[in-house]
């Protein structure tokens, strides 16, 4: 006979609220008049995020514990990342709310009369809000899940809506649909690896929980074909999600094709969630087998940093450049996994947050630079923007400087702490490669800044549209975070240090 597992609903409440709101969102689509939907969806989504965040703060004050037997563990790092995902979602939805970036009717063929009619009728694909919320729920579950089934479910819950949303771009629709399909195919492919890896590990240990896996490794020594293959395949699934080389090939295409607000949200929040799960699996479940996985994660970290930084140089498209930059950042964060100490964990948490806000802000600005045909993502056409719109160009430069890790921005503090943790743990090579590839990366960030400010504007019709109030709020918050965490990093750093633990 099966006994229902004991669930602590109070601890799960932040996730449940988001899921509930997503379901309500679906009902809104079904029953509410078109004209009211967008506004209602926005209110529901933002409201749910705020409520969820409040509940999370309450959970935090109760202290951490196991929420569902061996499946979910609401602990420090988990709560921190849940909070980060919620903040990213809040900032992301503010940008997403500008429906001008989305296709009016996704089912219409690109360029067809039907599409033109949909545009004429002012239709909107407001499903994007509940989809985002479903993804957020998955992202909140992913970093706190402690068995392979839950991990897999969370992975799929967060991925499927993203596949869909990647295809919703209003302009260059074929590119967008192609990106969505690629993302879906490769995502399914990598999920299969993940699942296969989980199955092998089950075969090795006879359990699906991370705790059980640790015990099994401790008991038998970590030198079993099942274990090693399992670790490798599981890593492939995770490394795909964080966009590490050589599992990164989807990133530039998808980042470029997806509607830009979705790209920003996806880049920030998926990375936080996926790294949360990755950190948990390696710190908690596979800690005992570290000698077998540390070398290859280190190598992947090195190639990811190098390839991300170098490939970004030859990019001519702003979104692709940012995609490669995000690959390089994944490499930097991977060093924290190799370091495997508490400082590295807190540094990774800080880094994920700092990177996330700057990313959302940067992509939000990309949505604003347009010509008559929509967004202009060709880097060369941004020349001289600093003279036309000094404020926008300055804020964009701020985010780039943060990506580059220039002092007085949050990016510097993140890089500094993550590299110093790596140094502490004796991985000097990683630090050297990290610093060198940061230096390479500075080249293309600064090149953009140079183009913005120090080149004469070509006689071109691009302009910066005045964004909606919501987008403006989102960008301002991102900019404030970026500066504040650069000037007074201890504000967040202390929190990250308090939260840098996993509960077994």
């Amino acid at each position: 006979m099966l006994t229902a597992p004991k669930l602590d609903y109070a601890l799960l409440a932040p996730i449940l609220v988001i899921l509930g709101a997503a379901l309500i969102g679906v009902l809104v689509e079904a029953f509410i008049k078109q004209a009211w939907r967008a506004r209602m969806q926005l209110v529901i989504a933002l409201g749910a995020i705020v409520v969820s965040f409040n509940l999370l703060v309450r959970v935090r004050n109760q202290g951490s514990s196991i929420a569902a037997v061996t499946s979910v563990s609401i602990d420090g790092a988990g709560m921190f990342l849940q909070g980060a995902v919620l903040i990213f979602a809040f900032l992301g939805i503010l940008v997403i709310a500008d429906q001008d970036n989305f296709v009016p009717q996704a089912s219409a063929l690109p360029g067809s009369a039907e599409e033109a009619a949909a545009i004429q009728a002012g239709k909107q694909q407001t499903e994007v809000f509940p989809l985002t919320l479903f993804a957020v729920a998955g992202m909140m579950l992913f970093p706190v899940a402690t068995d392979f089934i839950t991990l897999f479910v969370a992975l799929e819950v967060l991925s499927l809506p993203l596949y869909l949303m990647a295809g919703l771009s209003r302009r260059r629709r074929l590119l967008s649909q192609e990106a969505a399909l690629k993302y879906f195919l490769l995502g399914a492919y990598s999920s299969a690896f993940f699942l296969f890896g989980a199955a092998l590990l089950y075969g090795y240990s006879g359990t699906i929980s991370l705790n059980g896996l640790t015990d099994a490794i401790r008991g038998s020594g970590g030198n079993d074909v099942f274990l090693l293959l399992g670790i490798t395949f599981l890593s492939v699934g995770l490394l795909f999600k964080v966009g590490a080389v050589p599992f990164h090939s989807w990133t530039p295409d998808v980042y470029q094709g997806a509607p830009t607000p979705i790209t920003g949200f996806m880049a920030a929040a998926t990375k936080a969630a996926a790294f949360g799960a990755t950190l948990r699996i390696f710190y908690l479940g596979l800690d005992a087998a570290q000698t077998s996985w540390k070398p290859f994660i280190a190598v992947i970290s090195v190639i990811t940093m190098i390839v991300g930084s170098i490939a970004a140089i030859s990019q001519r498209d702003m979104k692709r450049m940012l995609a490669y930059s995000s690959i390089a950042h994944a490499g930097f964060i991977l060093t924290a996994i190799v370091s495997l100490n508490e400082n590295a964990l807190s540094a990774a948490l800080f880094y994920l947050f700092a990177y996330g806000v700057a990313t959302i802000g940067a992509f939000a600005i990309v949505t604003m630079v347009r010509d008559s045909a929509g967004e202009v993502s060709d880097v060369n056409r941004w020349v001289g923007l600093g003279k036309k719109s000094p404020l926008v160009a300055s804020v964009f430069s701020l985010f780039l400087l943060s990506f580059a890790g220039i002092p007085l921005t949050s990016g510097f503090v993140g890089k500094f702490s993550i590299f110093s943790a790596a140094y502490e743990s004796g991985n000097i090579t990683l630090v050297v490669v990290g610093v060198l590839s940061s230096a390479i990366a500075v080249f293309f960030y600064l090149r953009v800044i140079l183009m913005l400010f120090f080149a004469d504007a070509t006689n071109d019709s691009i302009s910066v549209v005045i964004p909606s109030v919501l987008t403006r709020i989102s960008i301002s918050i991102c900019a404030i975070f970026t500066i504040l965490l650069g000037i007074a990093p201890s504000l967040l750093f202390d929190i990250a240090q308090d939260f840098a633990y996993f509960l077994r």
């Binding site: 090693l228 490798t232 599992f247 530039p252 077998s292 490939a311 970004a312 030859s314």
Partner: protein
């Protein structure tokens, strides 16, 4: 130590006001100046309240601290953004905010025709905030932030009328000279950190007692370099004269009363370093002595009223620096002279501004003359400041300057006699050039041309001058009565009441000598300037020619630093271009090549992406296999 929660407002209010006025732009034009003045006034009131609160506390509890936030926390390097208000800093807080407020009021009228008056006031508030941070920081690093902040404010204000290229150049010159000093400060901070592991005043003080003589001397020398930059002391003095390009209220506040005295504050604050290193002290004394004569000599030949006053400022700060080099006895007198000087010099600068205001911005004193009839109030307030700087009893300078001369004589041995004589000589030259300024400006017959219509300045301008004149009269007596300031500062500068080596000369003798020298200086000036040619005569002594050219300070800097520096730069640029850039271009070329080959892999086909993934997986499996076998 008392913990306070109010100190932050001293800095936050003017900082906020400055930001507000700059951000609002033209929208704040109507009320910006009033707002800034009110903010400055309220900072002064907070300062007074803190002063009385401090008097109500006893002993150790007098100093108050406030921790704002943890600023830097990297490994063993811990710095809090924290404020410290003790007996020394309260003197500065009152001086800065008090004189600052008067000058705000004065500027309302002085700048009333300037279309950028709001921006001017925003910068003034920025200056007040930065200067207060400078004197309130509880560590060298916090002080450094304020130090740079006042440098910025000074730069912005000297170049306020930057539409004139000469003024913009003057601002740049001040900035560069200050940077040289700032390097000294940052080096001092770094040495202190490596030696003591901390940069707070308390921590360095604790560490200084056990530190090596070499380290202390190095820190002392670097601090002196910093002080020389900010306070226009030899050899970094050259910027102050040009800094007079700024609007006159700025010259009064920043380049006479407050910012340029930051060097004196820095040395006094670091008394534990200098007291423990006689070598560093000797350097301080030498710099002070050279500068006090240097400035005084330049002052004798300047026809520009503001430049004459600027040279005088340089010289008077030389006195203060010299006093700080004389050990524990000297600090209190340096600070006393600093405060009295703040009153009378600011007063005289405002007077000069008032004269310029009435004379169509004419600054050449040879085109003044007989102005006492047209501007009685300006003449009277200026005159009181004049008596104060001469050191005529009972005016302020008598108490503060005579104490420095006395202390110089008492420092013992040949050094004492030498320093005493230099300070006496300086007093004589001071009397000469100040009398020259008085006579050329206010006495004699009129030499101005037909277009000038000299008139007394409005109330808003002469009222601050009158208040400062009261300070020029009374501040010395008040600070000196019952050794008030000496006792007040004792906990900070560790003055122990034992009499050091006794007096070389009784104080009364020193005073008589000083007054005699002053009288001689005045007499020479009065006799020499009974008639004044409207154009400066050419057939003058070599020393006068040299003084007119600022004792060739600029030519010297140009020949010794600028030209070789430019050559060095050109050489380095060449090397950089050919050797280093060559290497970089090579690396860049390699990176470019690999970037475009990486680009080729990214061909857009899902099948090749999937293939790359499979290859990746195979490589991983192979790697794990190899590691574990």
């Amino acid at each position: 130590m008392t913990t306070s929660t109010n100190l932050v407002y001293l800095i936050a209010l003017p900082l906020f006001s400055s930001g507000l006025l700059l951000l609002l732009g033209r929208k704040a034009d109507k009320w910006g100046h009033i707002f800034a003045t009110l903010v400055s006034g309220s900072v002064f009131i907070i300062g007074i309240l803190e002063f009385f609160a401090m008097q109500g506390r006893e002993g150790e509890a007098r100093a108050a601290t406030q921790k704002l936030f943890e600023w830097i926390s990297v490994g063993s390097f811990q710095v809090d953004a924290a404020l410290l208000l003790d007996q020394l800093s309260i003197c500065f807080v009152l001086l800065i905010s008090g004189v600052g407020t008067l000058i705000h009021i004065y500027s309302i009228a002085y700048m009333s025709h300037d279309r950028d008056r709001r921006r001017f006031f925003a910068y003034l508030n920025l200056f007040i905030a930065a200067m207060l941070l400078l004197v309130l920081g509880d560590s060298y690093l916090n002080l450094y932030v304020g130090w740079e902040g006042v440098g910025l404010a000074s730069y912005l204000l000297i170049g306020f009328w930057n539409q004139k290229p000469a003024y913009a150049t003057a601002a740049k010159k001040a900035f560069v000279a200050n940077r040289v000093g700032d390097v000294g400060l940052s080096l001092a901070i770094m040495i202190a950190f490596t030696q003591f592991g901390t940069v707070t005043f308390a921590g360095v003080k604790e560490g200084a007692s056990g530190a090596s003589a070499g380290a202390l001397t190095a820190i002392g020398a670097m601090l002196l370099l910093a002080a020389a930059g900010k306070s226009a002391q030899f050899p970094l003095q050259s910027w102050l004269g040009d800094a007079m390009a700024g609007p006159t209220p700025v010259s009064a506040l920043i380049h006479a009363a407050t910012m340029v005295t930051a060097g004196v504050y820095l040395i006094t604050r670091s008394n534990f370093i200098f007291d423990a290193s006689p070598t560093a002290q000797l350097m301080v004394v030498v710099v002070g002595a050279i500068t006090l004569l240097f400035g005084a000599l330049i002052g004798t030949a300047k026809d520009d009223i503001k430049k004459a006053l600027a040279a005088s400022t340089m010289s008077q700060i030389g006195y203060m620096i010299l006093a700080t080099g004389l050990g524990p006895v000297g600090y209190a007198f340096a600070i006393m002279h600093l405060i009295t000087h703040g009153f009378f010099k600011a007063g005289m600068f405002l007077g000069a501004g008032s004269v310029m205001h009435g004379m169509n911005d004419e600054v050449n004193m040879r085109r003044y003359g007989g102005l006492r009839k047209m501007m009685p109030i300006t003449a009277a307030t200026f005159g009181l400041g004049y008596l104060a700087i001469l050191g005529v009893p009972p005016f302020a300078g008598f108490y503060s300057k005579d104490k420095i001369i006395e202390t110089a004589f008492d420092s013992g041995g040949v050094q004492g006699v030498l320093l005493g004589s230099i300070t006496l000589l300086g007093a004589g030259i001071t009397a000469f050039y100040m009398t020259r300024v008085m006579v050329l400006t206010f006495a004699g017959t009129k030499r101005w041309d037909e277009n000038a219509h000299p008139h007394e300045s409005p109330f808003l301008m002469w009222a601050p001058m009158a208040v400062l004149a009261v300070g020029s009269v009374a501040s010395g007596f008040l600070l000196n009565s019952g050794s008030a300031l000496v006792n007040w500062l004792e906990p900070v500068v560790n003055e122990n009441h034992e009499h050091h080596a006794g007096h070389l000369l009784p104080p009364i003798v020193v005073s008589i000598m000083a007054l005699t020298v002053v009288a001689i200086g005045v007499a020479i000036a009065v006799l020499k300037y009974r008639t004044v040619p409207a154009v400066a005569p050419e057939d003058v002594l070599g020393i006068t020619k040299a003084a007119r050219k600022d004792l060739y300070q600029d030519s010297f800097n140009e020949a010794v630093f600028m030209r070789p520096g430019q050559k060095l730069t050109a050489g380095l640029v060449n090397t950089d271009y050919k050797v280093i850039d060559g290497l970089v271009r090579l690396v860049g070329w390699i990176v470019q090549i690999s970037a475009s080959s990486l680009r080729n892999i990214q061909n857009g086909f899902v099948r090749s992406y999937a293939l790359i993934m499979v290859l990746g997986v195979l490589a991983l499996v192979a790697a794990v296999w190899m590691v574990t076998l």
